[in-house]
């Protein structure tokens, strides 16, 4: 028996297992190539063709080179470059939600990790603030629409308190519609950011805080001189992934404005613009917008890529810092 075992244990080095590696990753790659990579190239390919519908009549596809891109970046009849306007809308609404998202998430992460404060009921608080992240964005947006509509309860309450006039309409003003979208984005994401930043703070070597305190640093100094610099890589990672998410903003403004970017196209986002062309089957323009969004996310993901691969280049230093748990 023992002899048999040693004989067999010699085997793994002589048998070639490499083929199993290929077999195991094969389904993933076959599906990735067929359902993502090929469609990606097809999308880029489409952007060089004129292909749209007028009524029931199909125009194209005819090769037009960079014509679609030229159209995309040239002003329309009223002198506005739509893609830039919608990019601006997207960025602005993202920004309005992201500023409170990151400020509050950072504050909460510090509260939760502070030994001095020793916050009780942390699991409860975390459970509640993370909850909106899992809610269907379309349903959340529909809920806001019904609650804030002219016949909704919030309008009724604010009128009763005399804060707004009965004729006030949350959906006819740019600032309130954008504000609602930003509020929803904030509510959906600040809990997630809090938890990630918390894990980051807990990963910092505890002795650094101790020695800073012994050296006489107060909590503000500890935050700016110790916590923040060491948290920076994760903070930046969070910020960039949030930006990538922001560029994809679609469900919330689409449902809230019923797809028309009301009021007056001020809440139409880039992906809503793309969705419009996909729906009326203007594949040339849809292709050009897709490539534009692809390029922007591509640049941002470059940073994420560098962050994620760095930990594989310096495994020992990175691993040692990782301690503690989120809950």
């Amino acid at each position: 028996m023992a002899k048999k075992r040693t004989e067999k244990s010699g085997a793994p080095s002589s048998v070639n297992y490499a083929k199993w590696g290929y077999i195991f990753i094969l389904p993933f790659f076959a599906v990735y190539i067929f359902f993502t990579l090929v469609p990606q190239f097809l999308t880029i390919y489409n952007s060089f063709f004129e292909s749209y519908r007028v009524g029931l009549q199909q125009v194209g596809p005819n090769f037009v080179g960079l014509e679609n891109y030229k159209t995309l970046f040239s002003p329309d009849s009223s002198g506005v470059v739509l893609v830039l306007k919608y990019s601006f809308n997207t960025m602005w609404m993202w920004f309005l939600g992201a500023v409170p998202q990151f400020v509050i998430a950072l504050l909460l992460a510090i509260f939760f990790t502070s030994y001095r404060l020793n916050i009780k009921g942390q699991s409860f608080f975390k459970t509640v603030i993370y909850m909106p992240n899992l809610i269907m964005a379309a349903a959340f947006s529909m809920l806001f629409f019904t609650l804030f509509s002219r016949v909704g309860p919030i309008q009724a309450l604010l009128v009763k308190w005399g804060w707004i006039d009965a004729s006030f309409d949350f959906f006819s003003r740019r600032v309130t519609v954008r504000g609602m979208i930003a509020l929803m984005n904030f509510l959906m994401w600040f809990g997630n950011t809090t938890i990630v930043l918390m894990a980051g703070i807990m990963g910092i070597d505890q002795s650094l805080f101790e020695s800073a305190t012994i050296d006489g640093a107060n909590s503000v100094q500890v935050f700016f001189r110790v916590t923040m610099p060491l948290l920076m890589p994760i903070f930046v990672y969070c910020l960039i992934t949030a930006m990538i998410g922001g560029i994809q903003m679609f469900d919330v403004p689409q449902v809230l404005s019923n797809g028309n970017g009301a009021p007056n196209e001020t809440t139409r986002t880039l992906v809503m613009y793309l969705n419009g062309y996909l729906r009326n089957k203007n594949f040339g323009m849809a292709g050009a917008i897709s490539v534009f969004i692809f390029a922007v996310t591509g640049i941002l993901s470059g940073f994420v890529y560098r962050r994620l691969t760095a930990q594989y280049k310096e495994p020992t230093r990175q691993r040692r810092r990782r301690k503690g748990d989120v809950l």
């Binding site: 608080f125 269907m136 309860p153 994760i234 990672y237 449902v255």
Partner: protein, 290 residues
């Protein structure tokens, strides 16, 4: 001298207490803000259309079951069918995405082969690219293959999920020593059997967490399904919710509308109530290392 020191201590204690009060106030306010809109939704789902017209209230009424029956039996928005469609798609996606991501991660983790590092780098590089930017080609291909109004194009692509792969890979690095695999080989276990009977049980927590996340993201997914599904009996829940928005609003029974929204988020909420602890742990476990 002694009293001065005591003074400083007392002052420090007062400062800390004040700080604590402020922190708890902030936390309670944020929690209230998170719950407020959902609380209103639940309350309003218990009110009839006439009661809703009377405005704001924080107290429930007695029409919950009436609204539930009305929503459930509505002829223009077939919510039971929508929930069934969403359930089939989300459950299948969750199973496929976790199994195949784990299999792929295991392939990279446990074997040495040519091009392995290149493949690994490639997956990380494409991880952040959103589905929207290839949606055009995807919809075109699915239309050509007559796969619109089918579950398949919403289920099969979940086999290749780079983010889940990355999570699994990191998890395996921390819990799966290669000696275990060698030991299994010595005992004569085949490679596939080793994966299914030894590796999968060892990474159970990661599988569970990723199944929940994939289920949720598939259940909530709106952009691509809305481009592929236009037959009434194939529509998923988010498409129906968006449809609710574009319907003629003034004619709607608002109690029913709140009930639709409640039904749309209910399965995820129930899951969350029971599994919030492991879900929150899963948020960070694989994504970033400190």
């Amino acid at each position: 001298m002694k009293s001065k020191k005591l003074d400083a201590n007392a002052r420090g204690l007062i400062k800390l207490t004040v700080l604590r009060v402020i922190v708890y106030a902030i936390l309670i306010f944020l929690c209230a803000l998170c719950l407020f809109f959902f609380y209103l939704m639940i309350i309003n789902a218990t009110r009839s259309n006439a009661q809703l017209a009377t405005g704001f209230t924080l107290l429930p009424k007695e029409n919950f079951f009436k609204n539930l029956v009305n929503a459930w039996t509505d002829t223009s928005i077939n919510i039971p069918r929508g929930m069934l469609n969403s359930l089939i798609i989300a459950l299948s996606s969750a199973v496929l995405t976790t199994y195949f991501s784990a299999l792929t991660a295991y392939g990279i983790h446990a074997y040495e082969f040519k091009g392995k590092n290149l493949i690994f780098t490639f997956i990380i590089a494409v991880m952040m690219i959103p589905a929207q930017v290839s949606a055009l080609g995807f919809v075109q291909m699915m239309t050509k293959l007559h796969l619109t109004n089918s579950y398949l194009p919403l289920i099969i692509p979940s086999i290749a999920a780079p983010v889940v792969f990355f999570y699994m890979k990191q998890y395996m690095e921390s819990v799966l020593p290669l000696d275990v695999i060698d030991a299994a080989r010595v005992d004569g276990s085949g490679e596939f059997r080793t994966f299914n009977t030894i590796v999968l049980p060892m990474i159970k927590p990661a599988i569970a967490v990723q199944m929940i996340f994939s289920f949720v993201s598939s259940w909530n997914n709106y952009f691509v399904p809305a481009l592929l599904l236009d037959k009434a009996e194939m529509k998923t829940v988010p498409i129906m919710i968006a449809q609710l928005r574009s319907a003629d609003y003034s004619k709607f029974d608002m109690g029913k509308v709140y009930m639709f929204i409640l039904l749309a988020i209910l399965p995820v909420m129930i899951t969350y109530v029971f599994l919030s602890k492991s879900i929150i742990k899963g948020v960070t476990a694989g994504s970033v290392k400190g």
